[in-house]
Amino acid sequence: MTMADANALALARSALLDAAAIADRDLERALGTLLRGDVDTADLYFQISRHESWSLEDGIVKEGSHSIEQGVGVRAMAGEKTGFAYSDEIILPALLEASAAASAIARRGQEGRLQAWRPQAGHSLYLPIDPLPTLADDAKVELLQRVDREVRRLDPRVRQVNASLAAAHDVMLVCSSDGVLSADIRPLVRFNVSVVVEDGDKREQGYAGGGGRFAYDWFLDGDRALEFGREAVRQAIVNLDAVPAPAGEMVVVLGPGWPGVLLHEAIGHGLEGDFNRKGTSAFTGRIGERVASPLCTVVDDGTLAGRRGSLNVDDEGTPTRRTVLIEDGILRGYLQDRMNARLMGVAPTGNGRRQSFAHVPMPRMTNTYMLAGPHHPDEIIASVPKGIYARNFGGGQVDITSGKFVFSASEAYLIEGGRIGRPIRDATLIGDGPTVLNRVSMVGNDLQLDAGIGVCGKEGQSVPVGVGQPTLRVDGLTVGGTG
């Protein structure tokens, strides 16, 4: 273990267990309760998280808010069965009561045995800090107010500015019946700004934001918060001139960075281990097959320093890693948590994640992106006689089983004769995950990751993620406009 890991484990023990007078023998007792009958493995997940946010409207900070969430989630797994319970009090009676409830899933069988804990080495991708006090409260207020003032000065059409600054300090400790003992201290900060601009009776909104696993000073560095403000105004002003989006299948050039939400929806979810174990994904059984053009290599990488989607260890204590999903167009791998890896007879990939102690872990993405290719972005635009260039997106969604996915363009332009033309109104793009990447005919040399705004939802659980890609030319996507 590195010093940082040892430090995280000591800090987490102190905050979660010592504070509640829970000793190692109590953990063993709870795991022993869970490990009844045919239960294969069991785990306990302790968590305390503190969150604050400051929000500005009308040029003033109207409110600050603070929350504390804490608790312990316990899980017993027997084959494909899971028993789960939690308590939002970290006290021994609650831990034992939850363990008894979760173990009710067990059938009679050979009693399992606890294995000795082997403290698990994780990465040191971020410092084990509490980001909340890394900027004085007065300075948080001043930062928001300065962004408001500067943004309003940029353009007289700016009518409303809403901005917020938020931070979370998340401490987790997980231990299992088969020897995992791991902890992580996870800082996460975020800044958002949205503006409404008005010009006559036209009205548009622009939005930008970012963050990651570090202290608040990241927003001051190079005046990043203000840059987000400028970006929000730019997007809103562009859209004031937007014409109706075209309708139908056409060539689409996707910009770098956040448009990588394409990969998250079209590819990423369909490669999560649970859907593939159950045979409900359009990618089921397709490892080794061509699912993309040879220009495409897509990875999920939880080990990028400081990124919003990164983790030193996942929520089951497995160190995160870089998993190649598609290599030169060939499907290579799935994303696994421990349960699905065990049932599929493969190694976990460090993708076992949960929204909180009150939720069951599942295979989830971390930072998902496509590697850079050979083409200059200008060359890609110039190659398109008629189509659209989509530079920014809202969210997306996928139907894992049919493979159909959507994502919604929030800033896009017509391309005519190889040149970027007029901006177009918001439109949803729809495609088919297993075939869309076969239509990628050019890949830019300008890989970018998003600014740190992604939230992924699955089965009611939200987790922070990252996406990224270089500029891509897709030779056929359906654009859902009205024109």
């Binding site: 069965k81 009561e97 139908g248 996915f405």
Partner: protein
């Protein structure tokens, strides 16, 4: 197994009263607080075996303090006295940094609820996990057996929850209620010609006696999935679109966002300043009915304790007003409408047709089966979403359709509503029948 003490309404009222007193002691000029506690479980099965059994037990406390017109808030799931005191101190400290904002403060005392009718929200389900598993198995079996092309399952679930919620403020208001919610759901996978489709069906009610038989829910999940098999795409065209009741709810949901006080004040709405103006076709009426017995959106008071009231929100197509809590009401120079936290049961008036009559009325067009993505721009009203569904030709439901988008602008779509069915879907807080919209653009091949 020991069972820890589950707090009752009086326990939570005491807790809220204590927190309000503490806030006053720590310097707050006024304060409001809410507390909640809930328990429940969900049993899930897949391919005729138990898959997960998930127990839940949630508690929480939220406090908002005011130092004059400066506001700070905090919440905690740790309800031990030290954690509660820390939260109150934190809220006070945050309020000291907030700007003085004359609109910030408790709801006006004369608008607080004084009558607390029994809205029949609490119907505990006497069911244990073993019985819930049996019902989930029955549900999934009916889905798997509904059609020979059903090949796989995402499972079936039966869930029950029972919770209490108390709200109080330093005007002396304190009230709480207990409510239950029970559900059955199922999703299965079908395959035909190497292509898979999935769909789901669900039932939800506050009263377990009002849930349909689990097998009926399961069978519908199976039939819905089977109907999607063999789907093809459509070419790009402009046609009428029929939103079945289940999807029509979302169409009306976009209205609620647009007429909320925050969106109006921020001018982040496609219906800015539209009170008193026509928004829908001139025969459309929409009512808010907060006191419907047993309904999912019923409440005697809103999140600030303000009394909720029956109200006609859309009258002959005209928007009569906004959905306001105290804060944005003051900002807009209006009074709270008892909508802090949203609307409570919207009832959309029907034009009298059954679903089949709506299909016949449409003649040739598209029936929405499933919508994907969030593609609604709240500021411009631009609407563009991924869709699957069915093509209708001369009143005959034909081919299933996939991988298209439907697009329009909500202002035009609302004005262009041709008919609203009698087939009300009561599984949410918006009670509407199917909605026929005169024209939208389908993008496809």
């Amino acid at each position: 197994m020991t069972t820890r003490h589950a707090p009752g309404i009086d326990d939570l009222k005491q807790r809220v009263a204590d927190v309000l007193r503490l806030a006053r002691e720590l310097g707050a000029s006024s304060a409001e607080a809410s507390a909640s506690f809930g328990t429940g479980f969900t049993a899930s099965v897949r391919l005729r075996e138990v898959e997960t059994l998930r127990h839940q037990r949630d508690q929480g406390l939220g406090i908002t303090v005011y130092l004059g017109h400066r506001r700070g808030s905090a919440s905690t799931s740790d309800l031990r006295p030290a954690a509660i005191e820390e939260s109150v101190r934190k809220a006070v400290a945050l309020a000291r940094h907030a700007a003085d904002d004359p609109a910030a403060g408790l709801a006006d005392a004369d608008r607080l609820a004084t009558a607390f009718p029994d809205l029949e929200l609490c119907h505990p389900w006497d069911i244990d996990p073993a019985r819930a598993i049996e019902l989930a198995l029955e549900c999934e079996a009916a889905a798997l057996d509904a059609d020979p092309r059903i090949t796989n399952s995402e499972g079936a679930s039966v869930g029950t929850s029972d919770g209490i919620r108390v709200y109080g403020n330093t005007h002396g208001f304190i009230a709480g209620y207990r409510s239950t919610e029970h559900s059955v759901s199922c999703a299965v996978v079908g395959a035909q010609d190497g292509a898979m489709e999935t769909d789901y069906e669900y039932a939800v009610s506050r009263d377990p006696a009002r849930l349909p038989a689990p097998a009926a829910t399961g069978r519908e999940a199976g039939l819905r999935t089977a109907r999607r098999l063999g789907a093809t795409r459509l070419s790009t065209r402009t046609v009428p679109v029929l939103f079945p009741a289940r999807q029509a709810r979302g169409l009306i949901g976009s209205l609620l966002g647009a007429i909320g006080g925050g969106a109006q004040y921020r001018r982040a709405s496609f219906l800015v300043d539209h009170a008193g103006k026509p928004v829908f076709a001139d025969w459309v009426n929409i009512d808010e009915r907060p006191h419907l017995p047993g309904a999912l959106g019923s409440a005697a008071f809103d999140d600030e304790g303000v009394a909720t009231r029956d109200r006609r929100l859309i009258d002959g197509g005209v928007l009569t007003g906004y959905l306001l809590g105290s804060y944005y009401a003051r900002k807009l120079g209006l009074a709270s409408t008892g909508n802090a936290g949203g609307a409570h049961n919207l009832v959309v008036g029907s034009s009298g047709q059954s679903f089949d009559e709506l299909v016949a009325l449409m003649g040739t067009g598209f029936i929405v089966g499933d919508l994907m993505g969030s593609g609604v721009n709240p500021v411009t009203g631009d609407y563009s979403r991924g869709a699957a569904g069915f093509w209708v030709e001369n009143g005959q439901v034909g081919q299933p359709v996939t991988e298209i988008t439907i697009a329009g602008n909500l202002r035009d779509m609302y004005r262009g509503i041709q008919a609203i069915g009698t087939d009300v879907d009561d599984r949410g807080t918006i009670l509407t029948g199917s909605i026929l919209v005169d024209r939208m653009t389908i993008a496809g091949t």
